[in-house]
């Protein structure tokens, strides 16, 4: 593994290794909540927020609890538990102390517990052997990349309301086709930098 600058990983996670367009992770909320730009932007912000913090927590748990105890095969189950618990905790804290943020993002938080992009980032961080700073760069970048993808899709879907889509392709069908086309465009970036 070449030592990559965290900033390079950050940009790569947004453009060349976008969670949605190169890994197809976090698809359920990506398809379900991408009908309007403001809501998808809210969800994207919440995902970025949670992604960053859960990655830090999971990094610490993995390197300071699981590895010393030789239990790294438990990472799947432990990461799921820590993400679920953290989202709960975060929801309570935000609701109490940051009411404005809660009204903007709060309703999306429970949705995020089951967003696989979050678990994906924690697992990739280990497979790719990132250090702490690289992990932070990767998580923030992945969050922003995810936001970029869902907001772009929401923009397209808003336009799509006026288009006549064949009956059998309405809703998720056409959304997946659009996502495929968007992924093709994003893969065009992939020669710039390799992080995996």
């Amino acid at each position: 593994m070449i030592e990559l600058n965290p900033f390079i990983i950050f940009f790569a996670a947004i453009f060349t290794n976008n969670m949605i367009f190169s890994n197809f992770l976090g698809m359920c909320s990506y398809i379900a909540v991408s009908k309007e730009i403001p809501t998808s932007l809210g969800l994207g912000q919440a995902v970025t927020f949670v992604l960053t913090f859960t990655t830090i927590i999971n990094y610490l748990i993995y390197h300071y609890i699981l590895v010393p105890l030789n239990l790294d095969y438990l990472r799947f189950i432990v990461f799921i538990i820590s993400i679920a618990a953290f989202v709960q905790l975060l929801e309570m804290i935000v609701e109490r102390y940051l009411p404005n943020l809660y009204y903007a993002l709060g309703i999306f938080l429970p949705l995020i517990t089951v967003n696989c992009a979050i678990l994906g980032v924690s697992l990739f961080m280990i497979i790719r052997k990132y250090n702490f700073l690289q992990s932070i760069g990767f998580s923030i970048g992945s969050g922003i990349g995810w936001t970029l993808a869902i907001v772009a899709l929401a923009g397209i879907r808003q336009k799509l309301k006026n288009a006549s889509v064949p009956k059998g392709l309405e809703g998720p069908g056409i959304t997946l086709i659009i996502t495929g086309l968007m992924a093709l465009a994003f893969i065009g970036f992939s020669g710039i930098v390799q992080i995996q």
Partner: protein, 367 residues
């Protein structure tokens, strides 16, 4: 062996730490202490803050109609929040009209009680109670409609107006993993305060209808709450009455007719009932008896799908055809309609065309 123990201990330990953290957070961060809840400027409650307005009200035995059980998907649990509910959430906006937003209407399942709060609810909701009733009779009326009669617990009473509805809870059962409430109109007489009768049609994959049709047995306990609704019989005039129903929409009409019979109300009434085939008609003896005993009552079943074999002598086509035939003009008449959206819309159109005043056409729309 050692590995198994370490694995178990590690997973349990980590989960326990998170559980402990969450419990601590719940006690400290999630604890909003006691807050004041004022309803309609007069009733004041001191409640535990932190949960949704809907569940806080249920704690205080005030029931707001809600079909989804507080998940923000049905949009029924609207209340006016005058002070202290925070801004309207994105989850509520799809259910609100612009007037409602301007009027401070909120979905009570989404609005959280975190500070002193002032709300306004219709006075009659104070009358709503919850009962754990016992199934007394369960009978097939047609292939698709069952009559369900339940008895309220000893000493408890429900007072409702003929035409109103209650909510029946479908519990968890095999194939359904959530508790949901569904609204059904009451078919029993308002004078029988210890029983509730419902007509429940079978909807394939319907959570509550499947429960009633496939799982419920005589003697079972069911949870109901009510009464609700602003569709009810007005007896403050002597206008002629036009009753129209299709399918299970017959329930509130039956309640109205029972009420009329008990009080011997001397108003002319005609009941148009829409169905497909003669097999869909039921309670024929009941209506025959009413035609003889009520002051001036006529039952007009109208069928849309008759064949030669049925040998049907009565009316055919949609209900508006029968109205065209029997109703000369709409002067000094009022109408009570109950059925699905499409039927109500066509009927309101047909009745207005006949000259009925639109404000005298009362209806209860099903989804």
């Amino acid at each position: 062996m050692n590995e198994i123990i370490i694995t178990t201990v590690a997973v349990t330990g980590i989960s326990a730490i998170f559980a402990l953290l969450l419990t601590l957070a719940e006690r400290t961060i999630g604890n909003y202490g006691e807050v004041k809840l004022v309803i309609n400027e007069e009733k004041e409650y001191t409640v535990e803050g932190g949960s949704s307005l809907l569940s806080t009200l249920i704690e205080e035995k005030i029931f707001i109609p809600s079909a989804c059980g507080g998940k923000g998907t049905c949009g029924y649990c609207k209340v006016k929040v005058l002070e202290g509910g925070g801004p309207v959430l994105a989850t509520e906006i799809p259910f609100m009209t612009e007037e409602e937003l301007a009027d401070h209407v909120r979905l009570s399942c989404q609005c959280k009680v975190k500070e002193d709060i002032k709300i306004e609810i219709p006075e009659e909701l104070f009358n709503v109670k919850e009962f754990e009733a016992q199934v007394e009779e369960l009978e097939d009326m047609t292939a698709e409609i069952k009559r369900l009669r339940v008895r309220l617990p000893e000493g408890e009473e429900i007072s409702f107006k003929p035409g109103q509805f209650i909510q029946l809870m479908a519990p968890k059962y095999e194939g359904n993993d959530e508790e949901v409430y569904r609204a059904y109109s009451i078919a029993s007489s308002p004078l029988d305060k210890n029983h509730i009768e419902l007509f429940i049609g079978y909807v394939p994959n319907g959570i509550c209808t499947t429960y009633v049709h496939k799982h419920l047995k005589i003697g079972d306990k069911v949870k109901i709450n009510g009464p609700y609704g602003d569709f009810y019989f007005n007896n403050d005039n002597d206008r002629e009455i036009i009753l129209v129903a299709a399918g299970t929409g017959i329930a509130p009409i039956i309640s109205i007719l029972k009420y009329m019979k008990t009080y011997d109300i001397k108003r002319k009434a005609t009941f148009y009932f829409g169905a497909k085939t003669p097999d869909d008609l039921f309670l024929l003896d009941f209506f025959k008896d009413l035609e003889e005993t009520l002051y001036d009552f006529k039952y007009v079943p109208t069928l849309t799908r008759t064949t030669e074999e049925h040998n049907w002598q009565g009316e055919t086509g949609r209900v508006n055809n029968a109205i065209d035939k029997y109703l000369e003009n709409g002067e000094n008449k009022e109408a009570y309609l109950c059925g699905n959206m499409r039927m109500i819309e066509t009927m309101v159109g047909a009745l207005v065309e006949k000259g009925l005043a639109e404000e005298l056409i009362y209806f209860d729309k099903f989804d």
